[in-house]
Amino acid sequence: MNAALQQMTEPAMPLLTVEHLTMRFGGLVAIDDASFVAQHREITGVIGPNGAGKTTLFNCITGFYKPTVGRLTLAAADRPPMLLEQMEGFKIGQQASVARTFQNVRLFTGMSVLENLMVAQHNKLMRASGYTFLGLLGLPSFNRAERVARDLAVHWLDRIGLTHLADEPAGSLPYGDQRRLEIARAMCTEPVLLCLDEPAAGLNPRESAELNTLLRSIRDELGIGILLIEHDMSVVMGTCDHIVVLDYGRKIADGSPSEIRSDPAVIRAYLGEEEE
C-alpha cells in the first residue's frame, strides 16, 4: 500500500484515476467496470445516452454512493493521493476538495445569493471562528477571515455577473442565473476537481456560449480539473479536452473530441445500429 502510494505521488499521476468502477443496485448494474482518467488542467467530458450511468458515476466520485467495486484515486498537486471510495461523503468536499453541482439545481433557495457563497466556505470559516467559540467573541482574526471569504464570494459574483443581486434570495433568480450561481458556489470551496452535472441544461444558446467561456477560464486561470456531464454538444465539443463515453454503464469510447465524433461505437450508441 505504501509503495503504491509512493508511486502515485509521481507528478505524472493524473488528477483523478477511476479503476474498474462498478456500481450495482440490487440486480441493476448502473456502472460496469469503467476505468478512465481525468488529467490536471483539463476538462474531461462524460457523455452518453440517458440512463448510461453518468450521474451515478458522479455520485460515486463525490461520495453520495459507495462503489460496489473499484478504486477512485484523487492526486492533487499539493497533497498525497486520496482514495475517494474510502471516504465518508462530506469529507470528499471537506478534505479532498472535490466540488460538484447537481443536475437539478440545489441552491439554498431561501438564503441570499451571497450567503450561498459564504456557506460554501464553511470549513475555512469554521476554523477561523475557532469552531464558533472565538467567533462568538467577535475576535478581529475572525472578522478578517470573514472579509476574505466575502471578497472571494464577490470575486465569483463578478465573474458570473450577479453582483447586483447579491442580497436577493437565491430562489428568486432566473434559472440560468441559478445554474451559474451553483457553479460559483462550487468554486468558492476552492476545489481541485470540479464536477458539473449538466450545467447547460435549460440554458439558451447565448447562455451556453457564456458557460463555455466560464469553464475554459476556470481551467486556464486556476488550473483545476473539470469533469463535465453534458448533453449539449456545443458545450461538450467547445470545451472538453478529453471525452469519455458511457453506454449502459460501460465505457464504450475514450479520446479527444475529434476521435469521439468519428467513433463508430459512439455513433451506434447515439443513433442506433444500422439495419443490414
Binding site: A99, R106, M111, L114, M118, Q121, L173
Partner: protein, 516 residues
C-alpha cells in the same frame, strides 16, 4: 355581477358553458354543512356524561343545543358560499348584525372586561355566544375582504410575489421597531403603576416561554429539525438544579451553568443516534425521547422522587443575599442590604429581571450565532442537506451543535423554573409543554425573534389573562392557531434578514419581478 367575477376568478375554466346558479351551489353546500354539523354535534354536544352520587356514570342529552347549531352554522356557510361567488352583501350585512347580536354588550355583557365575575348569562351560554360571535366575525371579515378585492380578479404570480415581498418588508421594519420597544417596555414595566405583583408574576411565566421559544427556534427555525421532545431538556435542567440544590446545597447561580452544560450533554446524547433521521421520522423519535425522560422521572423513585417530585429546592438569592424576612445567623437579607422594608414582592420582581436577562441572553446568542459560519450552516442544512454534504459540511456535527445549544437554553430555563417553583415533578414536563413551545415558534414565524416573543405573549399571556376560561382554554388555543394559520400562514412576523449584506439595504425592496 356574479358571472363577471366568476370569469375573472377562474381564468382556466370554461365559463361559456352554463355555470350552476350561485344560489344552487350555496344551498347544496348549506345542506352538506347542516348534515356535517349534525353528525359532529350529536355525538360531541348532544350527550354529556355526568357522575351520579360520585359513583355511577350517566349522561344527559343536550339536543336543543345541537339543533341550535344545526340551525345557525349552515347560515354562515350559506353566506360564505354566496360570498365566494361574488355575492358579498348578504354576508356583510347578516355577518355584521349577527356579530353585534352575539357580541353585543347589551345582550350578554361579554364585551365588559370583568365579564366572568358579573355574567348575566351562565358561563357556558356566554361561551356559546362568543363562539357564534367569532363565526359571525369571520363571515363579516371575509365579506369585507372580498368586497375590497372585488373586480381585481385572481392576482397574477408577480403581483402575489410583490405582495409577499411587501409583507416581508413590513414585517422586517415592524420587527426592527417592535424589538427594542418590547425590551424597553419589559425593563420599565415593574416600575410603572401597572406592574403589580400579579402581572409581573404572570410575565415571569410568559418570559420563561419566550426563552424556551427562542431556544427551540435555534433547533426548529434555524436548523429545521422538528423537535417534539424539547421539554425533555427543560426537565433535565429543572431536575439538575433540584438535585444540586437539595443534595449538594449549591445555589441557583452555581447550578445554572452546570444545568446548562448537563442539558446540552443530554442533547448530544439523545441527538447522536437520531439525527440521521429527517423530517417526520426525527419528529416521532424526539417525541418518544421526550416521553421517555418523563417516564424515567416518574419511575426512578430513588433518584427523582417519582410522581411526588422534589420539594424544598433552594430559592433564588440576590447573588447570595436571600429574599427572606429573617435570615440565619450572620446572613444579610436582601431588604437589610438595601435598607428596605421586607416585602414578598421583591423576590418576584427579582425573578422577573433574572428571566428577562436570561431570555435576552438567549436572544442575543441566537442573533450572533446566525451570523457565524455555524448559523449559516444550520440554515443551509434546513434548506438542502444534500447540497451541504457536497460542500463538505458535516451534517451530523452541525445538527448536533444546534441540538446541544437549543438544549442548553432549555436547561437554563429549567433550572430557573425549579428555583421559581421550589418544587419539580414530572407533571410539569408533559408533551403538551413541547407542543406549546413548538406552537410559539411556528406561530411566531419560524426564525423570527420578535415573532416568537409576540407568539409567547399571545399563547401564554392570553390564557393567563383569561384564566377563568378554564375548560375553554384549549378551545381558544386551537381557535387562535387556526386563525393565525389562515391569515398568516408563515407566522405572525415571518421574514428573513440575510446574515450578510453586500449592498446597503435600500428603502424600496427589490422585488424578484423587477429582476431582468
Amino acid at each position: 355581477m356574479a358571472d363577471t367575477t366568476m370569469e375573472k376568478r377562474l381564468p382556466g375554466e370554461a365559463v361559456a358553458s352554463k355555470a350552476p346558479s350561485p344560489l344552487l351551489v350555496a344551498v347544496k353546500e348549506t345542506i352538506f354543512t347542516a348534515v356535517l354539523v349534525f353528525l359532529l354535534g350529536v355525538l360531541m354536544v348532544g350527550f354529556q356524561t355526568q357522575a351520579i352520587q360520585g359513583q355511577y356514570l350517566s349522561f344527559v342529552t343536550r339536543f336543543d343545543d345541537v339543533l341550535w347549531a344545526v340551525a345557525i352554522v349552515p347560515i354562515g356557510r350559506f353566506l360564505l358560499a354566496l360570498d365566494r361567488q361574488g355575492q358579498s352583501w348578504p354576508a356583510l350585512i347578516v355577518g355584521g348584525l349577527a356579530f353585534l347580536y352575539f357580541f353585543g354588550a347589551g345582550s350578554t355583557g361579554v364585551m365588559e372586561l370583568d365579564v366572568y365575575k358579573t355574567l348575566p348569562l351562565p358561563f357556558e351560554e356566554a361561551m356559546v355566544n362568543v363562539i357564534f360571535g367569532l363565526g359571525a366575525l369571520l363571515v363579516f371579515g371575509t365579506a369585507i375582504k372580498s368586497l375590497r378585492t372585488a373586480g381585481q380578479g385572481r392576482r397574477t404570480l408577480p403581483a402575489r410575489e410583490a405582495a409577499e415581498a411587501r409583507r416581508a418588508n413590513f414585517a422586517r421594519r415592524l420587527s426592527v421597531v417592535l424589538g427594542p420597544v418590547l425590551v424597553a417596555a419589559a425593563v420599565v414595566l415593574p416600575w410603572t403603576p401597572w406592574g403589580d405583583r400579579q402581572l409581573v408574576d404572570s410575565l415571569v411565566l410568559v418570559l420563561t416561554y419566550v426563552m424556551l421559544g427562542w431556544g427551540l427556534n435555534i433547533v426548529v427555525g434555524l436548523a429545521g429539525l422538528l423537535d417534539l421532545g424539547y421539554v425533555a431538556f427543560y426537565a433535565v435542567g429543572a431536575y439538575t438544579y433540584a438535585k444540586l440544590s437539595t443534595e449538594l446545597g449549591l445555589t441557583f447561580w452555581e447550578s445554572l451553568p452546570i444545568a446548562g452544560i448537563f442539558s446540552a450533554a443530554f442533547g448530544v446524547a439523545l441527538g447522536f443516534p437520531v439525527l440521521r433521521l429527517r423530517g417526520d421520522y426525527l419528529a416521532i423519535v424526539t417525541l418518544g425521547f421526550g416521553e421517555m425522560i418523563r417516564i424515567v422521572l416518574i419511575n426512578w423513585q430513588a433518584f427523582t422522587g417519582g410522581p411526588n417530585g422534589i420539594g424544598s429546592i433552594g430559592k433564588i438569592t440576590f447573588f447570595g443575599f436571600p429574599f427572606e424576612r429573617k435570615a440565619a445567623e450572620g446572613v444579610t437579607t436582601f431588604h437589610e442590604l438595601f435598607g428596605l422594608q421586607f416585602s414578598g414582592s421583591h423576590r418576584v420582581y427579582f425573578l422577573y429581571y433574572v428571566i428577562l436577562v436570561l431570555a435576552l441572553i438567549t436572544n442575543f446568542a441566537t442573533i450572533r450565532l446566525r451570523k457565524l459560519p455555524i448559523g449559516r450552516a444550520w440554515e443551509a442544512l434546513r434548506e438542502d442537506e444534500t447540497a451541504c454534504r457536497a460542500l463538505g459540511i458535516n451534517p451530523t456535527n452541525t445538527k448536533l451543535t444546534a441540538f446541544a445549544i437549543g438544549a442548553m437554553f432549555a436547561g437554563f430555563a429549567g433550572s430557573f423554573f425549579a428555583t421559581r417553583q421550589g418544587f419539580v415533578s414530572p407533571e410539569s414536563f408533559t408533551f403538551i409543554e413541547s407542543a406549546v413551545i413548538l406552537s410559539i415558534v411556528v406561530l411566531g414565524g419560524m426564525g423570527s425573534q420578535v415573532g416568537v416573543a409576540l407568539a409567547a405573549i399571545l399563547l401564554i399571556g392570553l390564557p393567563e389573562a383569561l384564566r377563568e376560561l378554564a375548560l375553554y382554554r384549549m378551545l381558544a388555543f386551537g381557535a387562535s392557531m387556526v386563525l393565525i394559520m389562515l391569515w398568516r400562514p408563515k407566522g405572525l412576523l415571518s421574514y428573513r434578514e440575510p446574515t450578510i449584506l453586500l449592498h446597503a439595504r435600500n428603502k424600496k425592496p427589490m422585488v424578484s419581478g423587477t429582476v431582468k
